[in-house]
Amino acid sequence: MAAKDLVTSGNTVIGPSILINGKLTGDEDLTVRGRVEGELSLTKTLIVEPSGVVKANVTVKNAVVSGVVVGNIQATESVELTQEGRMVGDIRAPRVIIVDGASFRGRVDMGELPPGRSLPERTTPRTQLRPTVRSLPAPPPRPAAATTAARPGGASSAAPAKKSGGGMPGIVRGESARPAPPPPPAPPVVAAGAKKKVVLKKKK
């Protein structure tokens, strides 16, 4: 049983030559050095190491991607793409960290709430659901035809360049299709609360 003694109990590791095809669920941290395909859901942290490949829809609390992920990640806390991380898919998490060197293609949805803020505090709903995380060149800010009236002064630099719908903020909110948060009490104001922290240091 010497082989087993090397292993710290409790933490799951998928070694580099292992392929798992199917559904994986669990309540503990998971480190992937091999391949996981299918579906992956954890109540703790997923770590994809540089040798790891995950082709799956992922539901976790935290995800740290240093390897390759193809698929969507939904995290209740945070998703971090490290320098070696490569990902194609959509990210939905309140905190999304993409560091310099990471490669990512897909959508980011950080939801409505800044992390750590409680629901009742949200009096100025965010309308810019997808901050400019992508490395793609953002289109120029929309000419303020329909939204000028609602936009507070000085917010034009934070214009919702990623907004994919029309000028109606309410429509944009609906697109995010978030299940959890109830509708905001006040009518949405364009770009009023673009406070979410996005760490993006993408070098070309």
């Binding site: 049983m1 798992i20 998971l30």
Partner: protein, 107 residues
């Protein structure tokens, strides 16, 4: 290192294959095929057909086991299924139901 561990709270439904040792403390359903050793620990539950070189079972396994070298059923294990391997060890205290086949060509 380079050891793969399926922790006790993990449930895998599907197929696992690989070229390294695998330790199962959690639950695996489906199929396991390895070229090295499989360890099913006391907390491990496997409902799968197993194809490996070596297997050591201290937990529960339901399914057929085929090993190219050795199958070891330790005390307190519970195994249901057919076992086929050139060497099969069943320890005192092990619980096992199934066929045993050691009929492997002389090596």
């Amino acid at each position: 290192m380079a050891n793969t561990v399926i922790g006790s709270s993990i449930v895998i439904d599907g197929e696992i294959s690989g070229d390294e040792d695998l330790v199962i403390q959690g639950t695996v359903k489906g199929k396991i095929s390895l070229r090295e050793s499989l360890f099913v620990e006391g907390s491990g539950v496997v409902e799968a057909d197993i194809e490996t070189q070596n297997v050591e079972i201290a937990g529960r396994v339901t399914g057929n086991i085929q090993a190219s070298d050795k199958v070891e059923l330790k005390a307190d294990c519970r195994v249901v299924g057919d076992v086929k391997a050139p060497r099969i060890l069943i320890a005192d205290g092990a619980s096992f139901k199934g066929n045993v086949d050691m009929d492997v060509k002389e090596r």
